[in-house]
Point group: C2
Chain length 222, copies 2
């Protein structure tokens, strides 16, 4: 076969591509994933695909029923609310831990991540929405930075998985409540520097609930 130009194995790359396509809605919810077609689209064999899809079914991003193949996990308003409330539980707790034991390096990570995110939000406001993909990645990195001093690898990984599923809904709804979210992000950063976990929990709750409301308001999600 061809040489590995990118990092990792062929399957690894296919995994990242397919996962990204699901999270960004290029593979629509509940869409049937026929192996023959995917084989064409991603240029890998069925066995490799199967490996990738099995992995994604463990993450609940695809469903694999019996002997009837794979499909992209469906979406529902109920699941969105459910995911959001789990994200809130994990993130509030992680933030409290982080605020308690975060050192100077942690503060630097938070400020740096917020800087990149805020720059993106500014650019988005002036020039429309240029690159939603990197914008959402900065969002991810900011929230990850906030909890990065919580001291629990398990908590961070679990939160990351839930966050990804949450982000999928945001991408599907193409929700863009930019200015409000930007203000909340700034508040969170400031509360981090002041170590005010209680207030940060409230802001986060409003932040997440606002995101849910906005996503549901678009009406694309049944």
């Amino acid at each position: 076969m061809a040489q590995n130009t990118d990092e990792g194995t062929t399957g690894e790359r296919a995994y990242r591509r397919i996962r990204g396509d699901i999270l960004q809605g290029r593979l629509a919810p509940a869409e049937k994933l026929k192996l023959e077609r995917l084989k064409e689209d991603y240029g890998v064999s069925v066995s490799t695909l199967r490996e990738v899809l099995s992995r994604l079914s463990s993450e609940k991003l695809v469903v694999a029923e019996g002997q009837r193949g794979f499909e992209v996990a469906p979406v529902s308003a109920e699941e969105l609310k459910d995911i959001a409330s789990l994200r809130l539980l994990l993130e509030v707790h992680a933030i409290a831990q982080s605020f308690q034991s975060g050192d100077m390096d942690w503060e630097a990570r938070v400020v740096a991540a917020h800087h990149k995110l805020a720059a993106m939000e500014d650019k988005k406001k002036t020039e429309g929405s240029p690159d939603i993909e990197t914008w959402k990645r900065y969002d991810w990195e900011f929230h990850q930075a906030l909890i990065s001093a919580c001291g629990s690898r398990e908590l961070m990984e679990t939160h990351g998985a839930v966050f990804d599923k949450y982000l999928r809904y945001q991408m599907l709804a193409l929700t863009d409540r930019g200015e409000i979210a930007a203000r909340e992000h700034r508040q969170l950063m400031e509360l981090a520097l002041n170590r005010d976990a209680a207030k940060a929990g409230e802001v986060l709750k409003a932040h997440i609930n606002g995101g849910v409301e906005h996503a549901l308001a678009v009406g694309r999600i049944v």
Copy 2:
């Protein structure tokens, strides 16, 4: 090939078997999983194995590094404590929700699950430890019953995954603090019927921390 005598596909069955063997320590932590050997042991092809192992690597029960194959996830005292604290966070929250909105059916499930578990704990005390596998399953089912009215599928699934990893450590340590655990289980049931979530949280905290201490005391975990 041979007919499917059991439920599901061949890969499905291999998945359950291998997963069980990891959780019960028959496949030791950090053990290298050579495909040729597994192929012999489980009677499936390498592609199918690969599919199974990929899935398990998503659950963090095996690690898959680069082009160097798979191995059983290692264990550490630190990870045990980490897992236990995440379990506590999820289960306390789920219990609070459950206690609030549990109906009569829920109470019945809790009582029924406790009955089976208590019977098993009694039998274990008199006859030694007969069937650790089903005993732990009853343990699992009791705790699952307690949170089964929490109203959040995501929370229950996430809790289930964490609980399984916790159980793996208990199996590895062959810990058996039966009478104390049995008393705590009874307390949890009674607190459920009285809807005393706050007290239940405290008991659960002691329950889990006790399990951790006991597992670490055995000294089998580095």
